[in-house]
């Protein structure tokens, strides 16, 4: 038997959430690229166009979910890479705190921007 090789704690949920967010992001990231580079061209982007899309609840909620899942997936990936490189103990706890704070800041900033675009939550 090969030895168990993973950065995830046995029985932990981070492994599963990394996969669930991956499955979601595969579709939404491809959609995001396609919409903003092929359907609309990036150089034609204006505040008004973005606002038009963001004022639709379906698009707004998809983008909010995209922000949250991408942040989790990315930051959790960085955390795993650091564990892979042998970060343990106090350093590991510090990294966890720094990465959690960075994630929170990113999500808050993204949400603030989304709300400005949509001129409020489009409910």
């Amino acid at each position: 038997m090969a030895e168990r090789y993973t950065s995830f704690r046995r029985g932990g949920r981070r492994w599963l959430w990394q996969r669930i967010t991956a499955a979601f992001l595969i579709i939404v990231l491809a959609f995001h690229f396609f919409l903003l580079h092929f359907v609309h061209h990036a150089n034609e982007v204006t505040f008004g166009m973005t606002q038009g899309r963001m004022q639709e609840l379906a698009y707004f909620s998809l983008m909010v979910l995209f922000l949250i899942t991408a942040t989790f997936h990315g930051v959790n990936g960085v955390y795993n890479a650091l564990i892979n490189q042998g970060v343990t103990g106090k350093k590991k706890t510090m990294m966890k705190l720094v990465l959690s704070a960075a994630s929170l800041l990113l999500i808050v900033q993204g949400l603030r921007t989304a709300v400005v675009w949509a001129d409020g939550v489009p409910i």
Partner: protein, 152 residues
């Protein structure tokens, strides 16, 4: 009886050798010694590329939100920032790089999800090469779209 023992012993020895070699290939000290890159297999390159593209994408995510945040200042600031950036050739080239990184991460991520489900484990090296080729094809085909309007 003696013959049976010899066969059993031989089988057991072979099994031990295969176990040892398998566990060695999963030993972190060896796997993460990048100085051994000439000995890396397809799976190892896939792992390195996935990690590298992941770092780029998470770095870009933070940059992306920072740029989009100009909308907090004013609608004009947002439109001007995006259109100024999009008018620069270097930004368009970086966007092509970003596309390459994103497409590879998506395709290899799909490959990893299937492997996690036990599908295609035997052809994991071929699916890595397919991810690379498909990434190259998509990126080359997208170049005209990504460079549209930047030259005049």
């Amino acid at each position: 009886m003696q013959k049976y023992d010899a066969v059993t012993r031989k089988f057991y020895t072979l099994w031990l050798i295969s176990c040892t070699s398998m566990s060695q290939s999963y030993n972190r000290d060896l796997v993460e010694d990048f100085g051994r890159w000439q000995e890396f297999s397809a799976g190892m390159w896939a792992w390195i590329f996935h990690k590298f593209t992941g770092w780029v994408l998470v770095g870009y995510l933070f940059t992306h939100i920072a740029v989009l945040s100009t909308a907090l200042e004013s609608p004009e600031a947002y439109t001007t920032t995006i259109q100024t950036l999009e008018g620069l050739l270097v930004v368009r080239l970086l966007e092509i790089g970003l596309l390459a990184v994103a497409v590879f991460h998506i395709l290899n991520g799909l490959r990893l999800l299937f492997i996690d489900l036990g599908v295609g484990l035997e052809s994991q090296d071929r699916s890595f090469y397919a991810s690379l080729i498909l990434t190259g094809a998509i990126v080359v085909a997208s170049v005209p779209t990504f460079l549209a309007g930047v030259f005049g």
